[in-house]
């Protein structure tokens, strides 16, 4: 049981950071930015390169996340801002095009093979009855700290108040003297940082390769939409729902239901459960689990 809970938390952490990044950016820049999941690929690759050069891992990770944050701000100012004038769907395909270019660059520079960070592998420890590796604990700690930090900024600082005000009513926020462009830059930077951290946490536990970003698209979108796009902390709950479904789908014996001794869902379908939740969510709760009234036309 505790193993189940642990798997659940770990899987939630995988998706949550990137989903929060996506949702936070959406709250001010109104289109689903697919490039977010590619920021989650660039982050660990930059960290890997910097760590290979000889920097300590934490320094490499910090530099990489800041670099990705800056990249997100630059891309937003030069590309997405202009595309958004032609509509959110156009901006969305534009962000996907950026993602393709990122993949092309990584393919040529880093190659298609998987890589690992050069940490000493430690045997799994026993923690409250669950088998846990040190790297998994590190990854969990890092993502929890990042989420907590972002929540604190959002709810207890001036800039956080400005972000929430601009997200709720941009015109009113401008009228009260909030520098909307500055707020957008800050949240875009934060979104890049969170996405890069999410990618780093993910690759800490396993490998990094150029398919990390594309593989994240649907679970991350599912989590962000379940939580309500534009509601960053809702995305964490969305990620928990996705993780719960995946863990249940992976570990439940459906046999007795169908009169057989054992029947487990084929492993390949476990990833598809998050797509299915996404489609169901879009059909029945398109504006998230927590919203009741407002509907855009």
């Amino acid at each position: 049981m505790s193993q189940l809970v642990f798997d659940l938390v770990l899987r939630t952490g995988d998706v949550a950071l990137v989903a929060v990044a996506l949702s936070a950016a959406y709250s001010l820049v109104r289109f689903p930015n697919i490039a977010t999941v590619y920021y989650a690929t660039i982050g660990p690759f930059l960290t890997y390169v910097l760590a290979r050069v000889g920097l300590a891992f934490w320094l490499a990770a910090a530099l990489a996340t800041v670099a990705v944050g800056v990249l997100a701000v630059v891309l937003n100012a030069t590309v997405f801002d202009r595309l958004l004038r032609s509509g959110s769907a156009i901006a969305m395909i534009g962000s996907l095009a950026v993602g393709m270019l990122v993949t092309a660059v990584l393919l040529v520079t880093a190659g298609p093979d998987s890589m690992r960070f050069a940490f000493a592998l430690s045997p799994p420890q026993d923690l409250l009855g669950a088998r846990v590796t040190a790297l998994q604990l590190w990854s969990m700690g890092l993502s929890s700290a990042a989420l907590l930090g972002f929540a604190l900024i959002l709810f207890f600082t001036d800039i956080g108040r400005c972000m929430r005000a601009t997200a709720a009513n941009a015109d009113l926020a401008r009228a009260t003297g909030i520098d909307a462009h500055g707020v957008i830059r800050v949240i875009t930077f934060a979104s890049g940082v969170l996405a890069a951290l999410g990618g780093i946490c993910l690759s800490l536990k396993g490998e990094l390769n150029i398919l990390m970003g594309p593989d994240l698209i649907l679970p991350v979108f599912a989590a962000a939409i379940l939580g309500g796009l534009g509601n960053p902390l809702g995305a964490i709950l969305g990620a928990a729902v996705i993780a719960l479904t995946e863990v249940i789908a992976a570990s439940t014996n459906f046999g007795p239901l169908l009169g057989q001794a054992f029947l487990f869902l084929p492993v390949n379908y476990i990833g598809a459960t998050s797509f299915a939740i996404l489609v169901l969510a879009l059909l029945f709760r398109p504006y998230g689990l927590f919203v009741n009234e407002v509907r855009r036309v």
């Binding site: 289109f31 689903p32 590309v79 202009r82 595309l83 032609s86 509509g87 959110s88 769907a89 156009i90 969305m92 395909i93 534009g94 996907l96 095009a97 950026v98 993602g99 393709m100 270019l101 993949t103 092309a104 660059v105 393919l107 040529v108 190659g111 298609p112 594309p214 698209i217 649907l218 979108f221 599912a222 939409i225 084929p266 390949n268 379908y269 990833g271 598809a272 797509f275 299915a276 996404l278 489609v279 879009l282 059909l283 398109p286 855009r296 036309v297």
Partner: protein
Amino acid sequence: MFDFILHVAIIAALNGLLALSLNLQLGYAGLANFGQIALFGAGAYGAALAFSWGFGPFAGLLLGLALVSLLALVFARLGRSLGADYWGIATLSIAEILRTVATNETWLTGGAQGIGGLPQLFGFDLPGTLALAAAALLATYLVLRGVTQSKFGLAVRLLREEPQLAASLGYDLAGLRRRVMLISGVPAGLCGFLYAHYVTFVGPDQLFASETFFIWAMVVIGGLANHSGAVLGAVALQILSASIPFAKDALGLTSEYVAAARLTLTGGGLLLFLLLRPQGLLPERIGSVRA
């Protein structure tokens, strides 16, 4: 070499069908379908399933069109309650779910191995296949041009520009979307059928989301809401894409560069045109409706 040119021409014509189909949805109706490849897949798997059950190509065509129509209705149903960006994500997920099903239901679809051995419609006669593909492309072009120049086409453009105005004038938006999806499903399904019988093999590897984005690039580069533009985009991108391996050999590069060049062609082409020439090579002609 001549055979290779014929092959490129056949694939370009087939891609033209997909581009015309997406152009009707995206260009004319403003429906950003991120799951276009699934419509193609429905046609292709229709042909393959009919073959594996021992039916002839005609039954395969009918089965494919039936599957395509079903999928188009599902897409249209989802569009009833969703904004454009949400609908894009929904169509992308459905396409991915269908690819997962096609990969895993080995008893039905042959799994990752797919279904092979479909007969070529003209034996191995490339000029015949090209003539068939070109005829299908021309017919689709003429039919879709007729559709978009009718009163229905005008209503569809109004749906794209001012949905609220269209609704206030009494147009049934959900019905319009449904008809657009059903009409544009036909060329996509036809393309899947022709492709399946041309390469004699259908498999989940043909259904990756990246193929959808390749078609998007054709439409955006050629010109949104311009049928000739969609065909031009399809032909231009197919020629460029087919010449990548030659450039690789000429420059002595590794095979990673081929994949990277294709991604750059799609992504870079999309981005350049969206930013610098959003109307595409052949812009939409305003006021070109006769009805």
